[in-house]
């Protein structure tokens, strides 16, 4: 964890770690794991809110809790850029991390795999592998998605690849 900024580090230590090693095919054990996932997400979301650093919404899109959808946003130059966020829990979870997708950005940056899967190979996958099964969805958002947005969104905005929704409306009207 050397090299990570102190804020991320202190946030990370406050997200509860998970204990149940179970994937979506493990029946009752997966329900147990799901409970831990919720607890970690609740803790992380309320911590973000209390620090005025709220930046995502995520909820299970099916009763089994294998597909998740929501939104995430990033503020750059006082403008808020919001994107759809979605991912599946892989069958080999938690040995392998979920592949976070921002479908609206598909094809706009090369730091992304087909279908809008953000590239986590360098900065996140090794951490996940080392900390499996203690890391969960909340950790993936904190250590995988947050740094990706911080690194990519400013570049995408400055290069004109993405426009703020107010600008997009005004240009389409004119």
């Amino acid at each position: 964890m050397e090299g990570w900024d102190p804020t991320t580090k202190s946030t990370l230590t406050q997200i509860p770690l998970l204990t149940v090693k179970a994937g979506p095919r493990d029946g009752a054990a997966w329900t147990q794991r799901l409970k831990e996932e919720y607890k970690a997400l609740i803790a992380y979301t309320s911590m973000n809110k209390s620090k005025d650093n709220d930046w995502f919404r995520i909820s299970a899109a099916n009763p089994e809790g294998t597909r998740w959808t929501g939104k995430c946003w990033y503020v750059h130059n006082l403008l808020k850029y919001e994107f759809d966020l979605q991912f599946d829990i892989p069958v080999t979870y938690p040995a392998t991390a979920p592949e976070l997708e921002l479908p609206e950005l598909d094809g706009k940056t090369h730091k992304m795999y087909r279908g809008g899967k953000i590239c986590l190979t360098v900065h996140f996958k090794p951490l996940w592998a080392k900390n499996s099964p203690r890391f969960g969805i909340a950790h993936a958002l904190c250590l995988g998605l947050a740094p990706w947005l911080a690194a990519e969104i400013p570049i995408l905005v400055d290069s004109g690849m993405i426009k703020h929704k107010d600008d997009a409306v005004s240009t389409s009207e004119s």
């Binding site: 964890m1 050397e2 090299g3 990570w4 900024d5 991320t8 204990t19 149940v20 979506p24 095919r25 329900t31 147990q32 799901l34 409970k35 831990e36 919720y38 607890k39 997400l41 609740i42 979301t45 309320s46 809110k49 919404r57 995520i58 909820s59 299970a60 089994e64 294998t66 929501g70 599946d88 829990i89 892989p90 069958v91 080999t92 040995a95 392998t96 991390a97 592949e99 090369h110 730091k111 992304m112 795999y113 087909r114 590239c119 190979t121 360098v122 900065h123 996958k125 090794p126 951490l127 592998a129 080392k130 947050a146 740094p147 990706w148 911080a150 690194a151 570049i155």
Partner: protein
């Protein structure tokens, strides 16, 4: 098409004879010439060959299998035609998978199962197999199109899905266990699974499926810099599974501000991909048709033309549950396996009982292997007096006891969901 054109010609002939006015003669002749031209063009169009019922060794230009059947005459393969009974599943129809599929198709494999969720792109054209006019098609559809033209005898089944999702995995498992092609076959419905995927997650999924089904499979991979690759044979319980020895994990803590911007685009070469596909299918043929030595692992370093081989034993502390079960099963049948190996050795020995040397001037005698083993075992297990091992001997991995601790204040899934939704609401 030919019949239609012939009909047009005869219609023209009739029209010509029925018309009394000779002024139309010239234009009718012109139409006739054009139709004849079209007929010739139609004749030169590629025709699809019909299916072949039995593989023949007859050496004629029209026999697609004569060169393959010659392997029998050369004494390499006992019964080449057995290849038509085999089913092979190929996961990932990319640079390696597509070429492997074409090789097996040309070899006349019985059935191929193809899995991929991607579509063909222009960026794939630096590799073999896919053609520019197939851009936009799913890789599975494009592969079936080409392969069925090359060899209509092969039964092709394609699955356009992502095997890492729960639903995709279920379809993957059920397609592997389906025995409709060869009902007499033991175990699963396929003889071998070839993993030709490009990422760790998908490999772990193939590993999971094969460990659960006790299905032998082969792994293949080409490095991101396109100058090295490998193939590996994985027999659940007998050799290391993909989770037994996880890839070297180096957590190189990266500051988000210094996050590399080189991009995720990996390099690739048609040559390296072709070599690895060739090695993979060669090992597959040796495994299926039982000739030569099947490599447990074969590496390829293109820069130095270095081909390392090695064998890996399974990890008794592997994190994959089904892998440990397969290891247990393999240990249980060890006595039977040893007896079979001994019987085979003795059979080989009994055939050469003639003394090779008449005299034995230096009193050289052959010591039984078992005795040497016993001596070695003793020397490695028992230490001389006064010495102790620094590390404890391996014991069973202790699973963390969690079930009791997780019971705390809130423990209802619906309640937790509501809590998160409440947080999401504002």
């Amino acid at each position: 098409m030919e019949l239609e054109l012939k009909a047009v010609l005869s219609d023209l002939q009739n029209l010509n004879t029925s018309l009394s006015d000779p002024s139309h003669q010239a234009s009718i002749d012109q139409i006739r010439l054009r139709v004849e031209n079209l007929t010739r063009l139609a004749m030169s169009e590629p025709t699809r060959r019909s299916k072949v019922k039995d593989m023949s060794a007859e050496v004629v230009d029209s026999n697609p299998y004569s060169r393959l059947m010659a392997l029998q005459r050369m004494g390499i393969v006992d019964n080449y035609e057995r290849i038509r009974e085999f089913s092979v599943a190929i996961v990932g129809i990319g640079g390696v998978g597509s070429v492997a599929a074409e090789m097996l198709t040309r070899c006349g494999i019985g059935r191929l199962l193809l899995y991929d969720y991607d579509t063909v792109e222009l960026a794939n054209m630096n590799r073999l197999f896919f053609r520019p006019e197939q851009v936009g098609m799913t890789k599975t559809d494009a592969a079936v199109q080409t392969l069925s033209e090359i060899n209509p005898d092969v039964v092709l089944e394609s699955f356009t899905l992502n095997i890492t999702t729960v639903q995709g995995f279920e379809t993957f498992i059920s397609s592997l266990t389906n025995k409709s092609f060869n009902q007499k076959k033991e175990g699963t419905g396929v003889d071998l699974v070839l993993s030709c995927v490009d990422n760790y997650e998908a490999r772990m999924v193939v590993n999971q499926a094969c460990n659960e089904l006790n299905q032998t499979w082969m792994e293949s991979g080409v490095s991101e810099d396109a100058v090295s690759g490998h193939i590996q044979l994985l027999i659940p319980g007998e050799t290391a599974c993909f989770a037994c020895a996880p890839p070297l994990v180096v957590a190189s803590g990266v500051d988000e501000r210094t996050l590399k911007r080189e991009g995720v685009c990996a390099a690739s070469l048609p040559t390296t991909m072709g070599v690895v596909a060739g090695l993979l299918v060669q090992n597959t043929l040796k495994f299926l048709l039982k000739f030569g030595q099947v490599s447990p692992y074969l590496g390829y370093n293109a820069l130095k033309d270095f081909f390392p081989t090695m064998a890996m034993k399974p990890n008794p502390q592997c994190s994959n549950g089904p892998c440990l079960e397969r290891q247990k099963e393999y240990m249980l049948i060890k006595p039977a396996r040893d007896a079979a190996a001994k019987a085979k050795m003795e059979e080989e020995l009994s055939t050469i009982e003639i003394p090779i040397h008449a005299d034995n001037e230096w009193n050289i005698s052959v010591v039984d292997d078992c005795e040497v083993d016993a001596v070695n075992a003793q020397s490695s297990d028992a230490l001389p007096e006064g010495l102790v091992h620094e590390l404890p001997t391996a014991d069973v991995y202790k699973h963390p006891t969690v079930s009791n601790e997780t019971v705390d204040t809130v423990d209802d899934l619906e309640d937790l969901k509501r809590q998160l939704e409440a947080l999401n609401a504002d």
